[in-house]
């Protein structure tokens, strides 16, 4: 974290008591609008959410039920299924995005002349909305009429969208497609921090390109790589839009992740208490990742 080295030096204190105290409290006045909005739109709802997680609506009345919501959740197979789906989704998404992102970043790091063009093309999937992206992907896999489904048909012999494993694969592929450019940009920026001479001298000493990457480049950009991994995992755990647009959790809950589970409980079935309890579980996962993220950032600078 780079905090300014020193506060701003104000040479002439204003004359008059009122003016002076105004000048001293200026930073707070400037911060006030942002803080007020954050309190109302972010902080208060977060606490409200915690409160809701311990409430349950029965016969139209909400009452405190302690850990009842969590009990229901932990007992239901649905939660564990969603957890497992989230884990599968996150792991595959993370590994594939990182591997491809590194591949692309390494290629682009060779100072290719067309880099700006490649970056723009790579980034178009990233600027699309989840709903638009999801719609595109769903169509490409519709039975008989979907272009990728038809292409893959001889290979897989089934309709991928209707198949539990296939549907998950489509959701993962589309998520990788959306995030790849972002990961590539972060990794490319990291790679460009590594002095060229370091890699070249290792190569002169007889290291293969693979060795240079594993033993020279990677250790130097460790922190940035970790930050990228964390940003991607937070994104993965919270993702809902794409799944909603492509599979709507199906077939038979095969792509029902934690985020989708929460969406469904709260908005399809109107169970806000249960929804809030799921939100708490996701929140906990995020907090853990966030702490690691901030630690990494602080260790890096």
């Amino acid at each position: 974290m780079k905090i300014a080295d020193r506060p701003l030096a104000v040479p002439q204190p204003a004359r008059g008591r009122l003016a002076r105290s105004l000048q001293r409290s200026l930073p707070l006045w400037l911060l006030l609008p942002a803080l007020l909005i954050l309190l109302v739109i972010q902080v208060y709802p977060s606490f409200y959410s915690i409160y809701l997680a311990f409430q349950r609506r029965q016969a139209g009345v909400e009452s405190f039920v302690g850990l009842r919501n969590f009990e229901i959740l932990l007992r239901s197979a649905d939660l564990w299924e969603s957890m497992r789906n989230t884990l599968v989704y996150t792991c595959f998404y993370l590994v594939i995005t990182m591997v491809l992102g590194f591949g692309l970043a390494l290629l682009l790091n060779r100072r290719v002349r067309l880099t700006p063009l490649y970056m723009v093309l790579l980034f178009i999937p990233w600027v699309l909305s989840d709903v638009v992206a999801g719609t595109i992907w769903r169509w490409m896999f519709i039975r008989d009429y979907g272009i990728l489904q038809e292409l893959l048909q001889p290979l897989v012999q089934r309709t991928l969208l209707a198949d539990p494993v296939g549907a998950m694969a489509i959701v993962i592929a589309s998520s990788v497609w959306r995030s790849l450019a972002f990961a590539t940009l972060l990794l490319l920026a990291a790679l460009q921090l590594v002095p060229r001479e370091v890699q070249e001298s290792a190569a002169i000493d007889g290291a293969t390109p693979g060795q240079v990457f594993w033993h020279v480049t990677l250790p130097l950009i460790q922190a940035q790589v970790l930050v990228t991994v964390l940003l991607l995992s937070i994104r993965a755990i919270n993702s809902v839009g794409l799944i909603l647009a492509i599979t709507a959790g199906g077939p038979v809950r095969a792509t029902n992740t934690l985020g989708f589970f929460l969406y469904q409980e709260a908005w399809k079935f109107g169970d806000f208490g249960l929804g809030a309890a799921i939100a708490m579980i996701m929140f906990a996962l995020n907090i853990i990742l966030t702490i690691v993220y901030l630690r990494t950032l602080r260790a890096e600078v």
Partner: protein, 280 residues
């Protein structure tokens, strides 16, 4: 024996070939939907499917132009994204400036807390926000959407503007202060013009983010005339169930503004993203 320069050129050639192949794969789904949007009603349902439209037609777009997409959904998205991004810019800018220039008790902790907010999953807050909007009679209004978007965009924008202010030397303002300017006029006349690219970056990222936002919108908006483009697309899909060319044209219309904006401002865009995610 291959000589070194030839090898290097071969290497470069291979690199470019691989990159081109990759970019083609990445852009394929986008091209596919653009092609689909120009097909006729019958040609979207051919088996096996074709990539290029056998007959080019504007029927899809004509139907989009007559639909709610252009009457309500896209204009609503414009209002929400534009107003919320315009509001975020100065509010985040002032806060970013304070975090860059002043130190007071707890300022560092406050900044960290704001960054922490960035990690709260948007989904977590939706239930309370829905309740609040409902209590305030603000369900299905642009006001509610703009408020939620401003609150959602602030943390990241504060972060970006702060990094930007950090890169502007403070000697400039101090010179103005010595010349007798008040801190506010020094900020307005000297710092703000220099920080314009950073403020614009905040505006840009917020615009794209809110334009694409879906979950808050689908939860808070139920009236047709206040729905945004991403939510409207869902209605669109039930309305034009098998008319995929109309749906595709709708998708293209939704994507077009942000894609164009991105193409025009890509440098600031990339810079802001790096600034916000990596630079501590």
């Amino acid at each position: 024996m291959v000589t070194a320069p030839t090898r290097k050129r071969l290497d470069m050639w291979l690199t470019n070939a691989m990159l081109m192949l990759f970019c083609a794969l990445m852009i394929f789904p986008v091209l596919y939907i653009v092609m689909t949007s120009f097909k006729t009603r019958g040609d979207v349902l051919t088996s096996p499917p074709t990539f290029f439209p056998p007959v080019w037609s504007l029927d899809g777009y004509q139907q989009v132009f007559r639909s709610n997409m252009l009457r309500y959904y896209i204009p609503n998205s414009f209002i929400n994204s534009l107003l919320s991004s315009l509001l975020v810019m100065p509010i985040a800018g002032l806060a970013g400036y304070v975090f860059s220039r002043y130190r007071f008790r707890g300022s560092r902790a406050l900044l960290l807390a704001i960054l922490g907010i960035m990690m709260i999953p948007g989904l977590t807050n939706l239930i309370p926000l829905y309740r609040m909007a409902s209590d305030l009679q603000l369900l299905s209004t642009n006001t509610a959407m703009i408020a939620v978007y401003v609150g959602g965009g602030l943390p990241f924008s504060i972060w970006i503007t702060k990094s930007f202010f950090d890169s502007i030397p403070r000697e400039l303002e101090e010179a103005a202060l010595i010349d007798g300017a008040t801190p506010l006029s020094a900020l307005w006349r000297i710092v703000v013009p220099l920080a314009m690219p950073g403020l614009f970056a905040a505006f840009l990222l917020n615009f794209v983010d809110t334009w694409n936002e879906f979950l808050a919108a689908v939860v808070l908006l139920s009236r047709v005339d206040t729905k945004t483009a991403t939510v409207g697309l869902l209605d669109f899909q039930s309305q034009f169930e098998v008319a995929y060319h109309v749906q595709a044209a709708g998708c293209v219309m939704i994507a077009l503004p942000v894609v164009v904006l991105f193409l025009l401002t890509r440098k600031i865009f990339f810079q802001a993203m790096l600034e916000g995610s990596l630079k501590g």
